[in-house]
């Protein structure tokens, strides 16, 4: 079964809610840590970011995300599940572009594993972003 780590456009409220609803199914989890990365309306040299356009190398994203999950599961014995969802395409300022959802037996492992997953995503996931300003000019990040 191939898991899809990418979603077209922003990570929707519906998708987040659906993941949170599933928490109750596993009564051996004591803590869930959820990271949501959001597009900021940064001002750069007087111009305001209105959106980010993400592009990704899909096959490599899947391979790297699988590696990240394996790394976390082997390092944190109490982690029960890890969900990773990253946007591709246009995500407007104020919308969510990354979700990391980690469930564990106890809180410390949930927290540490979630933070580490986010760091590994930043380092290893082949995703690129183009910040688009209100005047439609852009810069690559």
């Amino acid at each position: 079964m191939e898991v899809n780590y990418l979603t077209e456009g922003p990570v929707s409220q519906k998708l987040i809610s659906r993941l949170i609803e599933k928490t109750g199914l596993k009564t051996d989890s004591g803590g869930h840590m959820i990271f949501l990365g959001q597009v900021r309306a940064d001002e750069i040299k007087g111009k305001k970011v209105k959106a980010i356009e993400y592009s990704a190398y899909k096959e490599l994203v899947n391979a790297e995300a699988e590696k990240i999950k394996k790394t976390i599961l082997s390092e944190f014995s109490e982690v029960k599940s890890i969900s990773i969802i990253h946007s591709t395409g246009i995500v407007k300022a104020g919308e969510i572009s990354l979700l990391v959802f980690v469930s564990a037996g106890h809180r410390h492992q949930a927290m540490q594993a979630c933070s580490k997953t986010v760091e590994l995503i930043k380092e290893n996931l082949p995703v690129w972003k183009k910040e688009i300003f209100e005047d439609d000019s852009h810069i690559w990040k």
Binding site: I121, K122, P126
Partner: protein, 77 residues
């Protein structure tokens, strides 16, 4: 023989395309020379290379059907 070359992020902008096919390239270094000829601007950018979804820093030999990708520094999140 022919390989498929993918350009991502800013490199897709620099090369004006996200995919291009090259014939008769023996190795990564060979391919890099060809790409430098086509898009001289590329020399100003940092990138890594993957072959068939596997990142490598070595000058590997290429075979027909290989997918080579030019990857600028990752910027997810």
């Amino acid at each position: 023989m022919e390989v498929k070359v993918l350009f991502f992020g800013v490199l897709a902008e620099v090369s004006g395309t996200s995919v291009k096919h090259y014939r008769d390239v023996k190795s990564i270094n060979d391919l890099k020379l060809r790409i430098n000829d086509d898009f001289p601007e590329i020399v100003h950018y940092n990138f890594r290379i993957s072959i068939n979804s596997e990142i490598t820093d070595n000058n590997l030999l290429l075979k027909s059907g290989d997918e080579v990708a030019f990857l600028p520094p990752f910027a997810g999140g």
